[in-house]
Symmetry: C2
Subunit: 151 residues, 2 copies
């Protein structure tokens, strides 16, 4: 594999799956003495264009972000539609799901990773950018998320 395929090794997010984001976000806020952040839902399917394992899915999730130093801790409460979030939560229970990296040239990086045995799990659009969850579990023992933000 070429040297540093992602072009970065800066972890920008840790994503944690939860059953009840309102409750857990409040607990984080209380524990760390922070404001409880606004909880947002990912975009509707026609905007998010979410694909899970190569198929279009209507899956959405509620998200809450906490600034924890130079990175964000992201709480994720998925709905019942098929997604990496739902599958992982059903299989593993609540807990950490991924680490994220901001990259350029997301599509090309996805292709290189897939050619190296790290399949694309899920992708979608968010306001101002797009993401790809890569199944790096076999190699890195954690799922990685690539984030590409528009200029």
């Amino acid at each position: 594999m070429e040297s540093n395929i992602l072009g970065t090794n800066v972890i920008t997010q840790i994503g944690i799956l939860v059953h009840d984001i309102e409750k857990t976000a409040q607990t984080y806020a209380d524990f760390f003495g922070m404001e409880k952040p606004q909880i947002n839902q990912t975009d509707a399917p026609e905007l998010a264009q979410t694909e899970f394992k190569g198929e279009s899915t209507a899956a959405r999730a509620k998200l809450a972000f906490f600034d924890m130093g130079s990175l964000q801790l992201e709480l994720i409460e998925p709905d019942q539609q098929p997604s990496t979030w739902r599958e992982y939560l059903d299989e593993h229970g609540e807990g950490p799901h991924h680490i994220a990296f901001v990259v350029g040239g997301l599509q090309e990086k996805v292709k290189i990773m897939e050619a190296n045995g790290m399949p694309l799990e899920q992708k979608g659009e968010y306001p101002g950018g797009r993401y790809a969850y890569m199944d790096t579990f076999r190699d890195l023992k954690i799922i990685t998320e690539l984030l590409e933000n528009d200029e």
Copy 2:
């Protein structure tokens, strides 16, 4: 609970449990284009004074640290002795185990957390400091590690 009990919300480490640290450390090094770090073993029991669930344990682990932005990603391969590492690895398989925070007044913070239903899981000494793993899983959906470094 008082406001920001830890006195910080800066995540300094993400700890990931692995079966084969040599192999996974090499994979990280290759993937991120970094040098494979030296793999160190935690101190022997008489130095580490490790306690797991209130009892002295001879458990040790091999550790590898990667700088990933402002925080470290820590790979942990535990031995077979009783520890939070061994227990979590046996129960959950490989994957993320904890996030860490550097604190002052570790012993006092452990007491306050215990009084708030977050039990001390494991503690021990390392060269230049000490650590405590707190079972914050019920509340924060991840284990937290407190690190206290000597001046």
